[in-house]
Symmetry: C2
Subunit: 515 residues, 2 copies
C-alpha cells in the first residue's frame, strides 16, 4: 500500500534526539498508556504479557510471510498468497474465512464476530512490489533481523513495512487477546486483496461481493495497519489520498499502420516512419513545456481548490517540519518553480500530475544498437485530486490523444482509483488521535496523502465509510531495496513490535467505546 | 559490418525461380567462370580442387570463430578475439602479423608479400553484435549446420554473415591458393578491428599506426569480404555509405540540478521536476513534428543534393525491384509521406536522419511502477550524407541543445564516422563488376548504402583509397536472431562456400591485372 504516504512521511523526518539515542536503551522506552476503556477492562496487563510471550511467534509470522511473495505485476504466486492469507486469518481467530473470486487475483473475506455491539473493518493487501535481489544487502525474502543504527533490531525484507509487518502486527494483537483469554472489544470484518501494487483493478469486485458488502456496511469505518512513525515518533494522519490511474501508452507500427511492424535496421529511418518519435510527439502534448502542469483538455474541470481548513492543516504541518531534510531525502535542490516550502506542500496536496514512471523502446542495453524500433512505450501515472475520477481521467486522456491525431496510440490502464476523503471528525480518525496522544506520539492532520490507496472503495457509495491508515511502529524502504520494519526499538520515540501490537489493541478498545 | 547494406539488399528480394528450385539440385549449379587472367594462369583447376579438398576445414574455421565472440559493447573477450584473429591470419599465410594497440580494443595488421607488382588491402572486423540466445532456434555460438528451404545447407550463428562467414571464406581462398602450390597474384595488407559494432571509435588509430599506414598506401584499394547476394543472385555494388554518429542523450537530476538525484515515489511529482519529461521536451526539438526531418540548427548546411548520375543509378535500381517485397520485408505499409518507390529510394540515399534506437528510463518491466525516475536516456543515431562530417554533427547537436536550454543534457557519442564515397571507375569497383558479370551475377551500382561502415578511414586523407564490399554468397540476419550464411547452395543463382571462395580468388587475379 501507499508507500506514497510513507514517503511523504519522510518529509517530516526530524532531528533525532541525540541525547536520548546516546543513552542507548536496548529495549524501547516508549511508555504505552492504555485508554480509559482499555484500562477499565482490566485486560491490559494480561494482553501485554501474552503479546510479550508470543513475540518470537509474531516475528516468525512476519518472516514466513515475507518468504512467500505474491507479485501481481508478475502474476507470481497469486493462489499461494491467497491461501496463505486465509491461513493467517484463521490462525488469528477469524471464524469465517472465505476466498472471494474476481476477474483477477482473488480476495479474502473474514469475520470475527464476538457479539460486540460495534463492527470495525480492516483492509489488508497480501501482495508486494517487485524487487531486484542484486540491490539488497540481505536476501529480500529472508526477513533477516539486523541492527539498524538509530532504530534497533529490524526485519529486512520485501513487504517488511509495505504491508506485511504492520498487518502481521495487527494479527499479533488478535493472537495476544486470545492468548490472554479475552475477546476483541469489537467485531471485525477483514477484507484482503492481492493486487494493491498494480492499482487494485478488481478490489471493488471484492468489496461489492454479496457476502462482503453487508458485513462492511455494519462497520463504523476501515483501517489498514501501518508503521509510519517518523524517527522522532510523530505521525501524520491523512484525511484521504489522491486518486491515480496508471496507464501504459504504446505506439506501434502495427496499430499505426505506418513505420515497421518489427524492429528493423536504423538505416531505413530515411524512408520509414518511427513509432518511437510518434510516442515522443504524443507525450509532449500531455504537459506544459516544463513537464509540470497537465495540458490534457478539460483536466482541471472538476479540480476543487484547497479549502481554508486544508490550507490551515498544511501550514500546521509545514511549520515544524525541516524543508532541508525533506530535500535531502529526495535528493532535490529546488521544488517546482523554486516555490517556498509551504507553497510546495500546497502544490503537493492540491495538484493533479502526469508522471513518467518509465520509458522503454528498442535497444535498452549499454551503448547503442542501430535499430528502428517498431514499438515504444511510456509508463505513466496520473494522480487525481477531488473531485476528479479515474473514469473521467482515462476518458479525457483518450479523447485528448484522439483529438491531437494520436488515436492509434494505445492507452492501457493497468490500475487506478478515485481520490478518497475521510472527515476529520469521524470516529476512525478521532480514535487514532486518542491513542497517539496517550502514547505521547505527536500527530498532525494532513488534508490528503499525495500518494494513493484504494480507500475510495470504502469512502464512496455504496459504503460511504470513513477509512484511513493506523499504527504505531516504524519502517521504510517500501518499493525500494532493504525495506525494513522495526522489531526491537532503541529509539525512545518509536514503538517496537510489542508496543505497536498494544497500539492496535488499544485502538480496538477505543473504537468500541468512542462517542 | 553494415547489415545496413544487407538489409537494404533485401529491398531487392526477387521471386525465386520456382521451376529451378523444384528441380532441387543438391549442390550449387552456379557456373563459376574464371576471368581471362585467372584462366591463362593455369591455376584455376588446381585451386578449385584445393578449395574443395579444404571444405570441411573451411566450415570448421567459420564454426570455431563463431564459438569465440568478441562483443565490444559488453567489453567481452577483446584480447581473446584479437589473438584469435592473429592466429587466423598466420594460418592463412600472412608472414607478418602484428597486434596494434589503441585506446580501445586492439587492431591486427598483417601482410602477405609475394613480391607481386600490386598490393590489395583487406579490412576485417573480428567483433560481433550482441545476441539473446532465447530468441534463437539453435545456440548462437554453435554454428549449427541446418537446411534452410530455398537456400540449402547454412551455418546458423552470431557473426555467420556479419562478418565471420565471408571473412573466413576469403581466408579459405588463401588456404586454397597455398594448398594448390600457388601464390596470390597480388600482395595483401590486412587490417582488422574489434570495435566495428560500436562505431569503430579507434579504427583511425589502427590505420594511422606507423607500421600500417605505409603498407596501406601501397594498396590500390580496400575491400571487406561480404555475402550479400540476393536470393535471385543479384548484387548491389555500393559506391559509398552514409556516415553515422551514435549518441546517448541523458537527462538526470544530478546534472540538471532540478528533479531528484535518485528514483523517488511518483507521488512527489506534484512538487518535484522530472528529468524524464525534460528528455521528452528536448527530444522533440530535434525533429519535425512527424519525426522525419532533422530540425537541428544548421543540419542541412553541408548536405550535397543528389547528382544527376546518382539519380540515374537509383532509377536503374528502382525499376527492376519489387516495392511490394521490400515493404513486406520491413513490415511497412507506407514509405514516409506515402512517397512512390523511386522517390522513397532517393530519400533513402540522400537524407540525413535522426533515429531513436532506444528509450530507457525508470521502470521498464511489465505494467507500471509508481516512481519518478532520476534519469532518462535516449539512444539516437544520426545518419550523415556527403558532405556532412561526424565532428560537425556532434558539435551542431550539442550547440542546438544548449541554445534550446537543454545544455545539462549529456550527449555521449559512443561511435561514428563520416560518409564515404568511392568512384565508380576505380579498379576496386570495376574488378567487382568483371567478376560478377563472369559469374552471371546481375550487379547494379547504387550511389550509397543507407547504412554505414568505417570506409571513410580509407577513402579520406591521408589514404584516399577506393574502398568497398565484395563477395559472392549469401547470408542474412545480421544483428538479429538466427543469423546465417550459405554453405551448400540449392539456389542455382546463389554461390555456396566453394564458389564464393573461388570468387575471391578470381577477384585477386582481376585486381592484379585490371587496367
Amino acid at each position: 500500500m501507499t508507500q506514497n504516504s510513507r514517503l511523504h512521511a519522510r518529509l517530516h523526518e526530524p532531528q533525532l534526539d541525540r541525547r536520548l539515542l546516546l543513552q542507548g536503551a536496548a529495549a524501547s522506552v516508549l511508555i504505552f498508556r492504555p485508554g480509559a476503556a482499555f484500562a477499565q477492562s482490566g485486560d491490559y496487563e494480561a494482553i501485554r504479557s501474552a503479546a510479550q510471550a508470543g513475540k518470537e511467534a509474531s516475528i516468525k509470522r512476519i518472516q514466513d510471510w515475507i518468504a512467500r511473495p505474491t507479485i501481481a505485476a508478475e502474476n507470481r504466486d497469486i493462489e499461494l498468497g491467497c491461501n496463505y492469507m486465509m491461513g493467517l486469518a484463521k490462525e488469528a481467530g477469524f471464524q469465517h474465512v472465505e476466498r472471494i473470486p474476481t476477474d483477477g487475483a482473488p480476495g479474502v473475506f473474514a469475520t470475527l464476530d464476538v457479539g460486540a455491539p460495534r463492527w470495525m473493518g480492516v483492509y489488508f493487501m497480501y501482495d508486494v512490489k517487485q524487487y531486484d535481489p542484486s540491490e539488497w544487502s540481505s536476501p529480500p525474502l529472508e526477513g533477516r533481523l539486523v541492527d539498524k543504527p538509530g532504530f534497533g533490531k529490524v526485519i529486512v525484507g520485501r513487504g517488511a513495512v509495505n504491508q506485511k509487518g504492520p498487518e502481521a502486527t495487527f494479527l499479533a494483537a488478535l493472537h495476544a487477546i486470545r492468548a490472554a483469554g479475552k475477546k476483541p472489544p469489537v467485531n471485525l470484518a477483514l477484507v484482503c486483496e492481492g493486487e494493491e501494487e498494480i492499482g487494485s483493478p478488481h478490489f471493488r469486485q471484492i468489496v461489492q461481493h454479496p457476502h462482503v458488502l453487508p458485513a462492511l456496511k455494519k462497520c463504523l469505518g476501515i483501517i489498514i495497519p501501518a508503521g509510519w512513525q517518523n524517527p522522532n515518533g510523530s505521525v501524520q494522519i491523512n484525511l484521504g489520498a489522491k486518486g491515480i490511474i496508471e496507464v501504459q501508452l504504446i505506439s506501434s507500427g502495427e496499430r499505426w499502420g505506418r513505420g515497421p511492424t518489427h524492429d528493423i535496421h536504423s538505416s531505413q529511418k530515411a524512408h520509414v516512419d518511427s513509432p518511437a518519435w510518434r510516442l515522443v510527439e504524443a507525450l509532449q502534448t500531455l504537459v506544459s513545456p516544463d513537464g509540470n502542469t497537465p495540458a490534457i483538455e478539460g483536466w482541471f474541470e472538476n479540480v476543487r481548490p484547497l479549502t481554508a481548513r486544508e490550507k490551515e492543516l498544511i501550514a500546521q504541518t509545514a511549520a515544524p517540519t525541516s524543508e532541508a531534510e525533506a530535500k535531502a531525502a529526495f535528493g532535490v535542490k529546488h521544488w517546482i518553480n523554486d516555490e517556498p516550502w509551504e507553497t510546495s506542500l500546497e502544490r503537493l496536496v492540491s495538484q493533479p500530475t502526469v508522471n513518467i514512471e518509465g520509458l522503454v523502446s528498442g535497444y535498452t542495453g549499454p551503448g547503442g544498437k542501430t535499430i528502428l524500433p517498431a514499438r515504444a512505450e511510456a509508463k505513466l501515472d496520473f494522480r487525481l485530486v477531488p473531485n476528479m475520477t479515474a473514469e473521467e481521467a482515462l476518458s479525457k486522456l483518450k479523447a485528448h490523444l484522439k483529438k491531437k491525431g494520436f488515436g492509434d496510440i494505445e492507452a492501457i490502464m493497468s490500475g487506478g482509483y478515485d481520490p478518497t476523503s475521510t472527515p476529520e471528525n469521524s470516529r476512525v480518525i478521532r480514535a487514532q488521535q486518542a491513542v497517539y496522544d496517550r502514547a505521547g506520539v505527536v500527530n498532525t492532520l494532513f488534508p490528503r496523502s499525495p500518494g494513493s490507496w484504494p480507500g475510495c472503495v470504502f469512502t464512496s457509495a455504496p459504503l460511504s465509510l470513513p477509512a484511513g491508515q493506523f499504527g504505531l511502529g516504524h519502517g521504510s524502504g517500501a518499493h525500494a531495496p532493504d525495506e525494513y520494519y522495526v522489531i526491537d526499538s532503541t529509539n525512545p520515540k518509536v514503538a517496537g513490535l510489542i508496543d505497536a501490537t498494544m497500539g492496535y489493541v488499544d485502538y480496538l478498545y477505543e473504537v468500541a467505546t468512542i462517542s
